[in-house]
Symmetry: C2
Subunit: 143 residues, 2 copies
DNA sequence: AAAATTAATTATAACAATTATAATCTAAGA
DNA sequence: TCTTAGATTATAATTGTTATAATTAATTTT
């Protein structure tokens, strides 16, 4: 249940030093429930770490990604978003306001299999995003 | 069958002027069968249009996207890729060499429905990418 | 067809996200 | 404690993309 503790253990196991900055970035990622950009994280931790550099955020997000704790997502917009890895889910994205909502759904294994069969690839994983309009934006719509 | 002609008709119908540069960009997109970046296109047409600006490539890719002729794709890597819109297909991407292969498969309507039901979104469309290792890279693998 | 208007292209500058570099600081091990 | 490796900071560099202004080309109006 305690995701932060598990994550810190993962870092320890892989020999990655646990610094206050890393602790805070992980904590933020886990608690935010949003899908923040590097800059979001940087700004959110400004109060706690006035001297922290953006490079630190990027560096550590890369470290977390390499250790498998975090997934990097790129949508159409300018900057990448980062998602703490939990159970398998997809993202539903509002095309009006950019909101991202998790959509829990089992992985599409049969699609992976077929793709592998047709293309000859050794398939490892896949990602999917679903686009539409969120209820908020939908209700604001003018008719 | 003649995709270029159809595409040009679409431009005419929507009142978009057909210039030599646009013609060439479209032609390249249709014939390349790869999924080029803006820079790829720019470089490929350098011989034909020595004075063409990168801005022209970007501008026209945006125009094509707005008219529905082209899809913009963003993966993990730095630059966006552009795909001439044909029938419904997904992309299988090699994590070693970056190669992108089309994988024709009917749309996952039932997933869209469920996502809509669960999240309350008005779902419009989705995208999926499948990641793995292509046969070439797989065979080069050291055991 | 010439003039006027609109749109497209070019060249260039600006911008924003990310990465690289070098210096400083921190922490762990000998 | 001294040494060494790793992490952070500050800053510069890079890269993909967009904005701006001037020029050129194409369409419409006269």
């Amino acid at each position: 249940m305690n995701q932060l503790k598990e994550a810190l253990d993962t870092l320890k196991d892989t020999g990655v030093r646990i610094t206050p900055q890393r602790h805070a970035i992980l904590e933020y990622l886990i608690n935010s429930m949003s899908h923040p950009t590097a800059d979001d994280i940087y700004k959110a931790l400004e109060g706690k770490f006035p001297n922290m550099s953006v490079a630190t955020v990027y560096n550590n997000l890369r470290v977390f990604r390499e250790v498998g704790l975090v997934k990097e997502l790129t949508y159409g917009d300018a900057s990448a978003r980062f998602d703490f890895v939990t159970s398998h889910h997809y993202h539903v994205i509002c095309e009006k306001c950019g909101k991202i909502v998790d959509f829990h759904y089992p992985g599409l294994d049969e699609v992976e299999h077929l793709a592998s069969h047709v293309t000859g690839f050794k398939v490892e994983n896949h990602r999917m995003e679903i686009y539409g309009t969120c209820p908020d934006c939908e209700s604001k719509e003018v008719h």
